[in-house]
């Protein structure tokens, strides 16, 4: 959790720092400095607005190598699900500055298009370029290595997914982030290792309790034949869902997401 706070601070810091066009001036890159200054005018408009794009086009006209302008232009296409236009534009940004945009493109391929293989390819390529910590995804929900693990799970490589998450936890002082223990727990649950799954769901419960997590805890107890705990946890899950404690993503949906109707269906079996 501490890491997330630090990460959000760093994002804010670097975001602010990247907007300081003077950095280009100090480097002696005057074309990029002028392009950056022009691109800053886009901040007055919504990402979908035509003026936002016209200003960024002007920035690109000043310096066609100004990668941030392509990245900024790609967002509206991404959010409207226009994979054809998005890919063409974000590819430009990645070609110009892979260290800055390749990990982001990998994350987007997963989050918006469930292009698991494409996401793995980008993130692994990014690891080779960065050599150090690849950092978190755009919305801060996951470290990119955890996102990569989810993609491996999605293509059927569950053992590899477990190994990636466990290595990450080992090297990062059991960093829970928002959902690390939950996804690891689901992986063990699906393998039929309920005791190990329960151990991870209990850790998740301490760090970021969710209706989905309670749902899986109840299923673990059911499998382990502790029916009182099963009943209590599925009731807790329904209560938490109705109170709004569940996984949400305004643009897409979380992997391993559980919906209220699934919880209610299980609840009916108990009562």
């Amino acid at each position: 959790m501490k890491k997330i706070i630090l990460y959000l601070f760093l994002i804010t810091f670097f975001k602010a720092a990247s907007q300081n066009c003077n950095a280009y001036k100090w480097e002696g890159n005057l074309k990029k400095y002028e392009a950056c200054k022009k691109a800053k005018e886009s901040e007055y408009y919504y990402q979908f607005n035509h003026k936002y794009h016209e200003v960024l086009d002007e920035a690109i006209a000043i310096d066609p190598t100004y990668d941030d302008a392509y990245w900024a232009k790609s967002i509206a296409y991404l959010k409207s699900g226009d994979f054809l236009s998005w890919k063409k534009i974000i590819d430009k940004a990645v070609d110009l500055n892979p260290k800055k945009h390749l990990g982001y493109r990998g994350w987007c391929r997963y989050q918006f298009f469930r292009d698991y293989k494409g996401a793995i390819k980008d993130i692994e390529e990014f690891q080779k370029i960065i050599k150090g910590d690849v950092g978190y995804c755009q919305n801060g929900d996951y470290h990119l290595l955890i996102a990569k693990a989810i993609c491996y799970k999605a293509i059927g490589e569950k053992e590899k997914a477990i190994q990636i998450i466990e290595t990450y936890l080992e090297k990062n002082d059991n960093e829970s982030d928002l959902f690390n223990f939950y996804h690891l727990g689901v992986l063990y649950f699906e393998k039929g290792n309920y005791k190990k799954a329960l151990k991870h769901f209990q850790k998740q419960e301490v760090e970021n309790n969710l209706a989905e997590n309670q749902y899986y805890i109840s299923l673990c107890y059911k499998a382990l034949k502790d029916f009182d705990a099963y009943k209590k946890r599925i009731e807790d899950s329904e209560k938490m869902y109705k109170e709004g404690y569940f996984m949400r993503d305004p643009y897409s949906y979380h992997y391993d997401k559980v919906y209220l109707s699934q919880i209610e269906k299980e609840l009916k079996k108990v009562n």
Binding site: N49, H53, E54, G81, F112, F113, R114, P250
Partner: protein, 166 residues
């Protein structure tokens, strides 16, 4: 006289160029304009000049019974097509202030993000099923019902639906 003609010519050129610049993008990226040949004239928007995006309220996709109900309905209705074709199909449309849908538009790509044309049996089914979906939530802002853009992306693997986004 020659000077006047030259002046008119230059002004025409100037305004044409200006017009071209203004029209490079729609007012908002992805805007769908009414097409009498494709669209139902009975589908009416409350405010055609201000159509929101489905995520603008921070809640994302809004469907009765949540996304699971939508996915279940689609998968029950869709009949897999025997083909080797794979990729993504996006159907984008507007949910109006009454929760009705209209102005459907389709884009398609293969697994390499290249424009692609899927078998008509796939596209026609998906369009029909999407048009029949009736559980869309009415989104509001300050108690006023809004029109909003929604899309569904169908991930197709060899003619079967393997995932639905967002």
């Amino acid at each position: 006289m020659k000077k006047i003609l030259l002046m008119i010519l230059l002004l025409t050129f100037y305004f044409c160029k200006k017009e071209e610049k203004v029209n490079k993008y729609p007012n908002s990226i992805g805007d769908i304009t009414f097409n009498a040949e494709k669209d139902d004239s009975n589908f009416v928007l409350c405010n055609k000049n201000n159509v929101y995006q489905y995520f603008n309220d921070g809640r994302g996709l809004g469907y009765e019974g949540e996304k699971l109900a939508l996915v279940t309905t689609i998968k029950e209705k869709y009949k897999p097509v025997k083909t080797t074709q794979s990729g993504l199909i996006r159907i984008r449309f507007i949910v109006n202030c009454k929760g009705e849908t209209g102005m459907f538009r389709v884009i398609q790509m293969n697994d390499s993000y290249e424009a692609f044309s899927f078998d008509k049996k796939i596209i026609n089914q998906l369009l029909k099923i999407t048009k029949e979906l009736s559980g869309w939530m009415i989104k509001q802002r300050k108690d006023v019902a809004l029109d909003y853009y929604q899309y569904l992306i169908f991930k197709i693997k060899e003619g079967k639906i393997v995932e639905i986004l967002p």
